[in-house]
């Protein structure tokens, strides 16, 4: 065990990833800048995200992790004054441009948010509503059951599907949101700090289901919990805050590598400082 690993007290031993050339790319991001008004939030991100892996984005508060992940399904389009530059190729197709329909992008790239946000509908309708609207109405009951089972929630709610989604506990609500997201069969699921509002047991349940589901989906997860990244992620990207003249601050991708490498032998000093707790 290396010193970093023992300091973190996390298990990072896992089967080694195949070489990157043999992994299929989901996202190929090149020179991505995300700008609010005149203020850049993230500058010059270049990285790839691979299929059927869990990719974690870690870094201190304000480093643009959330802004970055919300670029991947055009969620930032809703913020007035926001624009992004650079290319995001999704299976080879640029989804960063203005000519792309963000609704179509979000249709295949789902999202789970920081705070559980179930609809004020029944548990069943929380999952079924998206299916109905997106015309996936065939065998609705089976689809709902499958999504809830995949989200490890079925056993807890199968007897009260008519109850409100808001009557569930925080952890259950978040799993309901995950069920809702995967029910519409996305290709990628983006998770923006999905466990930050949850207790450790609920967190563990969500990490477990990501692990179980990554054969079917690709996950990108933002977390400020390094142990979580070390536990669930195959690849980890470390973002940090860079400063320029006149108090300008923006987020930057510092290092992106196998999770094991990031946590045991980072090649950048800033990454090492962050994962060992000397900074942030």
């Amino acid at each position: 065990m290396s010193t970093i690993e023992s300091a973190l007290r996390v298990e990072t031993k896992r089967a080694p990833l195949p070489p990157r050339e043999r992994l299929e790319q989901v996202f190929d991001i090149e020179g991505l800048n995300a700008i609010y008004g005149a203020k850049p939030a993230v500058k010059g991100v270049t990285m790839e995200v691979y299929k059927n892996l869990v990719t974690a984005i870690i870094g201190p508060s304000g480093c643009g992790k959330s802004t970055f992940i919300r670029c991947l399904n055009r969620m930032n389009d809703l913020i007035p004054g926001f624009r992004q530059e650079g290319t995001i190729r999704y299976h080879g197709q640029n989804i960063g441009g203005n000519d792309v329909d963000p609704v179509a992008v979000r249709r295949t790239i789902g999202m789970v948010f920081q705070r559980p946000n179930p609809f004020p509908k029944s548990i069943y309708d929380n999952v079924a509503w998206g299916l109905r609207v997106l015309r996936m109405k065939d065998s609705l009951d089976e689809r709902v059951e499958r999504a809830l089972t995949q989200a490890a929630l079925w056993d807890e709610v199968k007897d009260r599907l008519k109850a409100s989604g808001l009557s569930l506990s925080g952890g259950q609500q978040q799993r309901l949101c995950i069920a809702r997201a995967i029910a519409v069969e996305p290709d990628v699921v983006l998770m923006d700090e999905p466990a930050s509002a949850l207790d450790p047991i609920a967190t563990q349940a969500i990490e477990q289901l990501m692990h179980d589901l990554k054969n079917e989906y690709s996950f990108v997860i933002v977390t400020h919990n390094m142990q979580q990244a070390a536990r669930v992620a195959d690849m980890t990207a470390f973002f940090s805050i860079s400063t320029g003249g006149e108090g300008a601050r923006w987020g930057e991708l510092i290092e992106y590598d196998d999770t094991t490498k990031i946590f045991t032998a980072p090649s950048d000093k800033r990454t090492e400082d962050y994962v060992t707790g000397r900074f942030g």
């Binding site: 399904n73 969620m75 809703l78 007035p80 609704v103 179509a104 992008v105 979000r106 249709r107 295949t108 789902g110 999202m111 948010f113 705070r115 946000n117 179930p118 609809f119 004020p120 509503w129 998206g130 609207v133 997106l134 409100s164 808001l166 009557s167 949101c177 809702r180 997201a181 519409v184 996305p186």
Partner: protein, 297 residues
Amino acid sequence: MSAPEATAGGRRNDRLRRRKIVNRLMEGLAWLAAAIAVAILGIVVFSVARKGASELNLNLLTKPPVPFAPPDVAQGLGNAFIGTLIIVGIATVIALPVGILIAIYVSEFAGPWVKNAVTLTLDVLNGIPAIVIGIFVFGLIVVGRGQSGFAGGFALSILMLPLVARSTMEVLALVPNSLREASLGLGVPRWRTTLSIVLPQTIGGVVTGATLAVARVAGETAPLLFTSSIVGNQINWNPHHALQTVPVAIFELSESPSPDDHARAWAAAFVLMMFILFASLGARWLATRSRRKLMAR
């Protein structure tokens, strides 16, 4: 305890006592101010009810007025109550959909500049004196065509519009953004998100706002003087003609020499006030109920 400390303690006690007295005094003044507001309402309702008591009966709502009638003839202001019903109905049918659509556009779709401009416009429109609206509609519709219930309803709808739009905007702003994101994140188009996720959250608030707006314009006199006031005494359901309304009837009866007419005006004023009171209470009840439903369901 040494002497200087005792003095300091004494001064502190003095200050504490003074604060307590000031506190009591201010609390008492605030209580009095609140009591005055309630008392004024009570006095108004009571005196109006007392002066109108002799005419406060079902005939007031159903029978038309009979001028110069002997005292034993049953008469009332049925034409005015029916006219108000129709004219306020027309105003609501116009103002409600337009106001809600304005609010949806401004809150959900417009950019910040348009949003500020339209909000300001609505606030200014809300501040325009009702009589100016009356003159405007008089010039626009009544000149050349004559007075009608439609003209009156149109004038009242202009008064209702900012009330409905602003109250709907307020409830739309209360719908949490996370709910919109939840729907949009599934790949649901924006119009569908607004229609199926955002709007159902606001129904209680919209109904409340609409009820308050109805209550407010039901008591308007000035715009109706220009648009729907030259009327006969018979009961009329046809908005193509000018219709009598309760506020205009009160205004006209107050100028009559007959004390019976005065009593009828007071009674009509009492009914109008009760309508506004119960409409407001009903709106509040609806608002709390829908809010509770939203939270606890």
